[in-house]
């Protein structure tokens, strides 16, 4: 086994197995125009981590996970309540407020806790290069479970994001499905954030989804395009990180950005013919 493969195997597996679900969720997020909801939920979860650390738990204790999960739950409830009823206050504004207040509150908490500082930094930047095999497999199992829930109720979730009016007329309790969507979304995002950091999770959610919207119209085709983009960009980013010795997460983010640039220029080129 070559050295490159040895060093990059687990980051590579993480970047091949895990974005599958993120790309799918990203299609929902982009469609609903709540792009920054992942940042907000990740920040709320980080606030939970800070809280647990301040109470004397270790970053890897189950209590910390419980606090972070509890905060994510509350965050999901908040976001459900803010589903736009009229146009007076756009939901994006409320999402932004949740993010900023959660970030500021984390700063207040960590000013009392030196360990929180390190933990919060890790939450933002992530350590995809140093992922542990167990962590990747656990998260993959969780992602699979979330994926199955979405697969079973795919029609309801689809209506929720793509045709809420039709859903309403069919008598679906939108708020309930909305809440479930945010809870599952929050769990997926926060568990990936602990590995890859906020920047990477945001990129995996949004960039492949945007590329997919450029090329395809049906859900199936969009998923295919999104997955291809995510996979190619992951491999290219990891490769660049290894060969040029760059921070791994940031290299993948830039590779995804480059992928968007490529797909949009292909589209323009294709259209002008």
């Amino acid at each position: 086994m070559s050295e490159a493969f040895q060093i990059m195997m687990w980051p590579l597996l993480a970047c091949l197995l895990l974005p599958g679900l993120l790309v799918y969720l990203g299609l929902h997020i982009v469609r609903r125009e709540i792009i920054f909801v992942d940042l907000a939920l990740a920040q709320v979860a980080a606030l939970g981590i800070c809280m647990a650390i301040l109470l004397g738990h270790d970053a890897h204790d189950w209590q910390t996970t419980a606090w972070s999960g509890g905060f994510t739950f509350v965050g999901a409830a908040l976001l459900t309540l803010t589903r736009p009823s009229g146009k007076r206050v756009p939901q994006e504004a409320l999402i932004g407020i949740v993010y900023v207040v959660a970030a500021a509150a984390s700063f207040l908490l960590l000013s009392r806790s030196p360990e929180g500082n390190e933990e919060l930094r890790r939450t933002l930047v992530g350590e995809i290069l140093l992922v542990q095999p167990g962590e990747v497999l656990r998260t993959f199992a969780m992602f699979t479970a979330i994926g199955i829930v979405h697969l079973i109720f795919r029609r309801k979730f689809w209506l929720l994001s793509f045709a809420p009016e039709q859903g309403k007329s069919e008598g679906i309790r939108l708020w309930l499905w909305d809440f479930l969507f945010y809870v599952l979304f929050g769990i997926a995002v926060t568990s990936f954030v602990r590995m890859g950091g906020v920047l990477l999770v945001f990129s995996y959610l949004i960039i492949p989804a945007v590329c997919a919207n450029i090329f395809a119209t049906t859900m199936r085709a969009r998923l295919a395009v999104g997955w291809i983009v995510a996979t190619l960009a992951s491999v290219a980013g990891l490769y660049a990180s290894y060969r040029l010795d760059l921070p791994t997460g940031a290299a993948i983010v830039c590779a995804l950005g480059l992928a968007l640039l490529l797909t949009s220029s292909v589209r323009i080129f294709h259209n002008s013919k």
Partner: protein
């Protein structure tokens, strides 16, 4: 769509190279990895041309927090000897890197893994482990290399490890060690003599990294801009520090490259104390490539600051 296909092919080729990789490397020299530049510099003095040394943390980087890059793992994968401080300074980032390198020679407990703090009596070992006291180091203050006598001990540990990994040249390493210790033993009384007039003088630091240096040279570096280790300065705490500085006429603040210089500058401006650039690591200050040069520079600049800063009384 044609362009997309070629991109796809390119990406596949990239992926192919990725999987097979290219590792070109010479095994002629003993590969030594040091976590911080102080150990690196001493290993260079001991190993000379016989060893290839890589240092992981930059000398201007906070050794508590080091960002991992792929090259760190490949350096560790190739290492014959790994030198770390070991008193929990590197605990946040080094263990996963060692795991990732899958190099059994440098696993914890193996002769190729040198923990320089092992066997040293560290200062400030906490009696109770309590997070409310700031960044906790259960084994004591990890910044022990600022005392030349501890560096002396570390040099002996490093020599033993290099000799064990490369038995053919162990006599040469011993020779180099003797030369290093001779230089160090010659300099230490000189440094002490320079510091002689300033015994008991108090100096302000940003972070509590200097108790060993202070002990050795008879100054007190026990007033910190951080309210607790690892916690950023708060307005109330800074006001308190400045009051103490004025009442006790403390005229010197030492600052390291990765610490918040703005805070120190503000305190210096308000109290008239002079700001002195300090670093625990060779290379952290210009012109300090070796450990001895570093301590020499530290002592000289501290002496200058204490001389000039100490005379004016408000």
């Amino acid at each position: 769509m044609q362009m997309k296909t070629t991109t796809l092919i390119n990406m596949t080729i990239l992926a192919g190279i990725f999987f097979f990789g290219i590792s070109s490397n010479t095994y002629a020299k003993l590969n030594v990895v040091a976590t911080t530049a102080d150990f690196g510099a001493i290993a260079r003095d001991i190993g000379g041309d016989l060893v290839a040394i890589s240092v992981l943390a930059k000398p201007t980087e906070d050794p508590h927090f080091v960002d991992a890059k792929p090259s760190y793992i490949s350096k560790l994968a190739r290492a014959d000897v790994l030198i770390e401080g070991g008193a929990e300074l590197e605990t946040g980032w080094l263990p996963p890197l060692i795991d990732g390198s899958r190099n059994t020679k440098i696993e914890s407990g193996k002769p190729g893994h040198v923990m320089c703090a092992e066997g040293l009596a560290l200062l400030e070992v906490p009696t109770t482990l309590d997070r409310s006291q700031g960044d906790i180091h259960a084994m004591g203050n990890p910044h022990f290399m600022t005392d030349p006598l501890n560096a002396r001990y570390a040099a002996q540990r490093i020599t033993a490890a290099l000799g064990a990994a490369d038995t053919q040249n162990s006599i040469l390493y011993q020779k180099n060690l003797a030369a290093f210790l001779q230089r160090l033993d010659m300099k230490l009384p000189e440094w002490k003599k320079q510091m002689e007039p300033f015994q008991g003088r108090r100096v302000v630091a940003y972070h509590n990294s200097w108790p060993y240096f202070a002990n050795r040279f008879g100054v007190k570096i026990d007033l910190f801009l951080e309210p607790k280790p690892g916690i950023p300065p708060t307005p109330a705490h800074l006001a308190e520090v400045m009051t103490t500085m004025k009442t006790e006429n403390i005229r010197v603040i030492i600052i390291e490259p990765y610490e918040n210089r703005k805070t120190a500058e503000a305190v210096s401006a308000k109290t008239g104390a002079s700001l002195v650039n300090f670093s625990q690591y060779p290379g952290g200050i210009k012109g300090t490539d070796s450990y001895i040069e570093l301590i020499d520079t530290l002592v000289n600049s501290l002496v200058t600051a204490l001389k000039t800063g100490g005379t004016s009384k408000e």
